[in-house]
Subunit: 364 residues, 2 copies
């Protein structure tokens, strides 16, 4: 983009040009070194999974009503890229709540996201819009979408700061355009959220890709565990700030946890299903500014219980012989991360952590 | 994909493998020659345009309600790729009704779409999800989404055939999976359709990209003309089967046209605005199986009036000194095209037509 933006600016007057130069001096976007070109062996998109709903009756070509017509819905959509000389296992990236595959593309401040970073590192990358979100908008269940004003809540809940103040040292660019891009990455559900529908479609995707690695973010944590239960092709999970849907073996559920953002409940699965999660390496990352003691600050307290639940979850997996690890980034000296570590200012450092994990587990 | 699918199949038994081989022998996808890798200088995504709605009141970080919160909506989303040694003018592709940027990616039968074809031909390519669609789902106006069964209507209306029969010689792959992919490319509006909102966001995109070429499809025809009126950076328009929103100078509107699919009305713009469309080269393509005489067959008759209106529109542009051309593909010997010529079986031939146009107009 910088070349094109430059071309636009050159047509303007000096004042605008000077402003642009000033912006470049403070923007991590514009000062980024030129990158090597990407060599893409193949790219494309498709839908997978989902269902077909048939309306009884006879279709009349000339006077069509619902009678005798069908509806395809509840599939996921994926855009994939395969680099030249790809590594054996592709990475499938599943976004969180209020988000789409866009989560993994360009960061809010205009740098390369995990899609392109991991392509450069040799992995085929599949970005998913989950069923009933983004380009996979056809839902078999109706919904109403309201323009709900949530910007300030998201600023708090995604731990950029305490609105209107940024956290000291937060890994989020403070230029207004970065926040504008962040708010505009939000996109609504086009049908009721359903972890079963999502994990069914995700398992169908892994049937098609073959063995691969699953990255999940936030709300996708739960459907991610279910996908690995449903598909043996999930060979590892890298989960960023899983937010809900922690599954435990029937009868071994931890107590509900209370927070200023509401209660967090564990979910029950058959012990044999839980055991499937003990057969693959799993790593979970949480960022900074998560309190250890209860607080009235809703945005932060929400993550206190999620981090606590994740710790219990990792213990439960490992107690049954699994290989799960929880990395609370500040504990390894990586500070300032928001709820979106993979698109934060230090996302290359986060990618390096992930690469190290994949290398240790011989997945690269 | 073929390499990966192959790997999956090898893990199965011979019966499945033979089925797969049989499928490959009849699939245009699998028999496609291996392609050269793509060299991408830069890729990424962003939102642009749109508005911010502010709710009065004071935001309470700990007990958030709508009070004092904002909502970012009505922007478009775009994913762009710039090839190495790019041509000067990028191509911006805007999808039609019930579609997203996905229209321009992989075809329903698994071949490269216009996104990748025109990247290979050296153009930077921007794929848009218009405001209130796909990943640009945040709408400032509420809506309800119902799972409306429209598959058979779409089969007819998009001129694949007369359900359940394909047109003889139709440029659409007859394997069930192609139709499955086609139906699953459908995605709903997440707010009321608004050509003004769309063209505002598109003009903002052209402000950012600088001078470029606009490709539109179907419903995007109308917002496309408006975008060129709003932005001098639109240097040419390639419009596939524009479906509505034909703008004429105030007082020079043709009469409403009646069809089995309902009436088609021209729309009025200020003469000075209309004249802006006379300053750029425009080409319009329509496919096959469009009747010349009225018929009860709704799916076809819908296009009879649109093609007729497009002819009047081109005449009006040229009468005022413009440079518009209507290409009815069967008249130049290209037969069997559906409403989606850019993803039909002969889409490389269609791309060649477009390239010839761009070359004639010195836009490449």
């Amino acid at each position: 983009m910088s070349r094109r933006i430059g071309a636009v600016n050159l047509r303007n007057r000096c004042g605008v040009l000077l402003l642009a130069v000033a912006a470049m001096l403070t923007s991590t976007n514009a000062v980024a070194a030129p990158r090597e070109p990407l060599t893409i062996q193949e790219q494309g998109s498709f839908a997978i999974g989902g269902t077909v709903v048939n309306t009884p009756g006879t279709y009349d070509n000339n006077k069509p009503t619902s009678d005798g017509q069908s509806f395809h819905g509840d599939h996921l959509y994926t855009f994939y890229q395969v680099p030249e000389n790809p590594k054996a296992l592709p990475i499938v990236m599943l976004h969180g709540a209020f988000q789409s595959a866009r989560s993994w593309e360009t960061t809010s401040d205009g740098r390369e996201g995990f899609q392109t970073i991991f392509l450069r590192r040799g992995f085929p990358v599949y970005l998913v819009d989950q069923p009933r979100r983004g380009r996979a908008g056809n839902s078999t269940v109706a919904t109403t979408i309201e323009p709900t004003p949530n910007d300030q809540l998201f600023f708090d809940q995604f731990r950029i700061g305490i609105w209107p103040d940024y956290f000291d040292g937060v890994q989020f660019d403070r230029q207004p355009e970065a926040l504008n891009q962040f708010f505009r990455s939000v996109t609504p559900n086009t049908g009721p959220y359903d972890a079963g529908v999502i994990s069914d479609a995700m398992a169908a995707l892994f049937d098609k890709t073959g063995p691969g690695i699953l990255f999940t973010h936030s709300q996708a944590g739960g459907p991610g565990w279910l996908t690995a239960i449903k598909s043996e092709n999930v060979k590892a999970i890298v989960s960023f700030e899983p937010g809900s849907g922690f599954v435990f073996p029937e009868g071994e559920l931890p107590a509900e946890m209370q927070s200023a953002a509401g209660p967090l409940k564990a979910e029950s699965v058959a012990p044999a299903d839980f055991d499937k999660l003990t057969r693959i390496p799993i790593v979970i990352y949480y960022g900074d500014n998560i309190p250890t003691e209860p607080t009235e600050r809703r945005g932060e307290d929400n993550w206190r219980v999620r981090l606590a639940m994740a710790k219990l979850w990792v213990e439960a997996i490992n107690k049954r012989g699994g290989d799960a690890r929880l990395v609370h980034l500040p504990e390894i000296g990586i500070r300032g991360n928001t709820h979106f570590p993979f698109s934060d200012l230090n996302n290359v450092e986060i990618a390096d952590q992930v690469s190290k994990f994949l290398s240790e587990k011989k997945l690269d």
